[in-house]
Amino acid sequence: MFLIPHVGTIIWTTIIFLLLVYILGKFAWKPLLKALAEREQNIERALTGAAEANEKIKSLQAEQEEIIKATRLEKEQLLKEGVLQRNTIISDARIKAQEEADKIIENTRKQLAFERAKALEDLRNQVAELSLEIAGKVVSAEMSDKIRHEKLVKELVDDIELN
């Protein structure tokens, strides 16, 4: 009957199944399960590593951006300062130059005035000398005509005074 288990078959099945569990357990399941577990761990490690790297990249990017921003600010400030400095330097220079120029002009004017005054005095002295000389000559040459001479002298002196 098909419903009554056959003892011989039971014994053979037991032997075959036990052998199968032992052989497969040792030579098939053990390495396969080990490989599965190891691969699982490896993938997990790789994934966490990737996530960490991503995080790091993000923080690095943020840092980089901050640095760029700071640099840009600094550059702007420097530029601004530079412009300011340039302007002050230029205006300072201009003021100084003006002062210098004014001084030079003043000096020149003073010197000119001084020179003129000196030249006038020289001229006056020379005129006086010349007139004395002339007067001497006239006196020595024209002692005869006294009246005419006097007139002449008078005229000369008047001329000078007029000058």
Partner: protein
């Protein structure tokens, strides 16, 4: 992929060939015994029978191993058993209470039943399944053994997802942290049942491994033994003193403990019967469909038989296709339920 198509083609021919050969058989015996025919093709036997005509019988004989209390151990080919040689002391009973068993004729004329430890068709099938599993699975794991981190290739790709499925979706959810020590058992169980089921579907061989109740008995018995041995204190206390049950159900008459105690045995018996009944009935339906051809041709005539064969073959192909699905489902269910019983026996959670 060309060879794949050839395989399907050969498989289809394999489904058709025995039917044609059975038809020849039917012509020989006009008095067709349907019940005997069906059980002959579903039950175990001492040879792998293909077909026979009036002159030739094509079958693979299998070794017969007997222990007789009278004459000790015997080891011979089953060809002798079927040869109807009067001088040979062993034969298979055709009827009576020892029907289909090997009988030994003693010299004084009486008959005894020796202990039969033969390599029957089922045992031979199991040996083939075991060899197939060892060769394929050891080869599949050879790469993993050498380098566990290597990318799986070939057979490993075929086996590993199934192994991972049993680990992730059966062992871990049902058993929990302790699954590691039961995993080899569950994996072997699953692959053994699956391949046995599928080998059983190769019709010309007609090896009905998991449709043999002795085989499913042993498989269920292993589940029973492992469950009982690994059962912890909580498991046994739940059986003999179930919590959340009113005291009068336990005290003068231990009704619920009795039911729970019976449960220890009914669970593996259900496992045994389910697998057996599914595979046995699958084979039986195909045998019935084929028997229908001979029945029709012996009741009416050959033309009706040939007409019936068309329908029978179509239905057989359908049933075998369903049986392929059933093979997977039954292997899965057996493994899942075993894992569940193991999980219940080892769990520490209060519920």
């Amino acid at each position: 992929m060309e060879w794949c198509r050839y395989c399907v083609f050969i498989l289809l021919i394999a489904f058709c060939v025995p039917k044609a050969s059975y038809a020849e058989e039917a012509e020989e015996h006009n008095d067709f015994n349907t019940v005997e025919y069906i059980f002959e093709h579903v039950n175990d036997s001492h040879e792998i029978f293909f077909f026979s005509t009036s002159t030739v019988k094509v079958a693979i004989p299998l070794p017969v191993i007997l222990y007789s209390p009278n004459s000790g151990w015997h080891f011979f080919s089953s060809r002798k058993l079927y040869s109807n040689n009067e001088s040979f002391p062993f034969f298979i009973a055709k009827e009576g209470e020892n029907k289909d068993k090997i009988i030994e004729k003693l010299s004084e004329g009486s008959e005894i039943v020796p202990f039969d430890l033969s390599i029957t068709k089922t045992v031979a099938g199991m040996i083939v399944v075991a060899l197939l599993l060892v060769i394929v699975l050891v080869k599949a794991s050879s790469r993993a053994r050498k380098n566990p981190l290597a990318v799986p290739r070939g057979l490993q790709n075929l086996v590993e997802p199934v192994v991972n499925f049993i680990r992730e979706d059966i062992a871990i959810p049902f058993i929990g942290a302790r699954h590691v020590c039961y995993l080899p058992f569950l994996l072997t169980m699953f692959f053994f049942i699956l391949v046995s089921n599928l080998i059983g579907l190769v019709i010309p061989l007609g090896i009905n491994i998991t449709g043999n109740i002795a085989v499913t008995f042993v498989l269920a018995f292993f589940t029973f033994v492992i469950t009982s041995v690994s059962g912890n204190r909580q498991y046994w206390s739940h059986i003999f003193n179930p919590p959340d049950v009113p005291w009068f159900m336990k005290l003068p008459i231990p009704l619920i403990p009795f039911v729970e105690f019976m449960g220890i045995f009914t669970k593996p018996i259900i496992l045994m019967v389910r697998l057996f009944a599914n595979m046995f009935s699958g084979h039986m339906i195909v045998a019935v469909l084929i028997a229908l051809i001979f029945l029709m041709s012996s009741v009416f005539n050959l033309v009706v038989g040939v007409g019936t064969s068309l329908i029978s073959v179509l239905f057989s192909v359908f049933i075998i296709t369903v049986d392929i699905l059933v093979s997977f489902i039954q292997a899965y269910i057996f493994t899942v339920l075993s894992a569940m019983y193991l999980g219940a026996a080892t769990s520490e959670v209060k519920h």
